[in-house]
Amino acid sequence: MTSRRHLSTLVLIWSLVGIAAIVGGWLAVAGRLPDPIAVHWSGMEPDGSLSQIGWLAVMLGMLALGGLIAGIAVASTPDWGYRATRRGFLAGILAWGGFTLGVHASVLLANLDNFYWQDARTSLLAIPLVLIPSAIGFLAGWFLAGNSDQPRKSTPIPSVTLDSGDRAAWATRVSVKWARYAFIAVAVLTVVTAALAGAGFAQVPWVTPIALAIVSAAGVTLTSISISIGARGVMVRFGVIGWPVWRIKLSDIDSASVEDRQALEVGGWGLRITPYGTALMLRSGECLVIKRHRKKNVFISVDDAASAAALLNALVERDAVAAGN
């Protein structure tokens, strides 16, 4: 289940099975349903209705939305060699399919054998009827993804030799321009909503600009970083203004290496703290991996990570010799 062709076929089969289940399920019980049917409830009492054909269109629309997003994902992801990528895709699409069918089934069941939609009471059964197929879809996708990753591209690390008086530093910047512009747009929206809330528009509660301000501040901070390695260990500066700063002392570092990582494997884009390690991923691909004493590994996505790892290893070694270990 690794090639684009396999996944395209899967999306096609998924769509056909979905259409067949939605239309087939309806045809099987159409004679026992009112028209219009109840499609919305408050508590157990129905409070919204739709013609049978209208409901069918809504269900097929939900399926089409899933198919469209899946199609875009297949077309725009060149590398399906990573299990995490396949898992995210398959679990997502199959859970969405399960959810759609669950909603369909629960609506049909509530309407079954009622003459007027106003009599179509729902029951607590609707909850597992929606949740269980979604969960089954998710788990099926999770396990369908397979369990072997293709062997990772191992990057050879050049050797750097440092004599006792030598000085060396490595530094780089990583930035994601489009993301920064997106967060600047959010910042503009913050100002606009704050002005509207200030002007007394009741529709704009104060919580909106406050939430937007937090999102844009976090975004602008995490869309560019400056990293340096040298006598003071590893120093990471966040954002345009270079603050906050995160330092890892040489004495805390065991060794450094390079790995090819997808952002999803280490928890996603941005700063991620997971049981596997602390990751600072602004993009997928080449990563500097810092192994720390008795602490979680650190992953940072940078270009030329091999030079960074080589220097860090040389510095750590010299530091340890100097400390008499």
Binding site: V160, D163, R167, A168, A169, S226, G230, A231, D304, L311
Partner: protein
């Protein structure tokens, strides 16, 4: 961008920093438009005085390899790659000339007399 200053190198530290940066530019490890990390961080990591790094950066600005821009920090200049190679070669040539007793003026006149 990796900078290495050798303890046995007799050149002053700012020359070594400038040389390291020229090499990084010439080898394409940094590209035109890239922003350099803060000079303060470079100095801290190289364990040298911040003024040493600033002096090296100003030298490279005078060679048109770097651009100092208010609000955008220090960036690599356009077409810096080729210029860095030639500038470094010129610096090496001057050192070579000095070693064999030729003055700067004599070296310049030698270059001018080239066909």
């Amino acid at each position: 961008m990796l900078l290495q200053l050798n303890a046995s190198d007799p050149r002053p530290l700012h020359d070594q920093v400038a040389g390291g940066l020229r090499r990084a530019i010439a080898e394409g490890r940094v590209r035109p438009g890239d922003r350099l990390p803060p000079a303060k961080d470079l100095a801290e990591q190289l364990d040298v005085n911040p003024n040493t790094v600033l002096r090296a950066l100003r030298e490279l600005r005078d060679e048109a390899l770097l651009e100092f821009r208010r609000g955008r920090g220090i960036t690599i200049a356009e077409a810096a790659e080729g210029r860095a190679i030639v500038t470094q070669a010129a610096a090496d040539l001057e050192a070579l000339a000095g070693k064999y007793g030729y003055s700067r003026a004599e070296l310049i006149s030698m270059i001018e007399r080239l066909p």
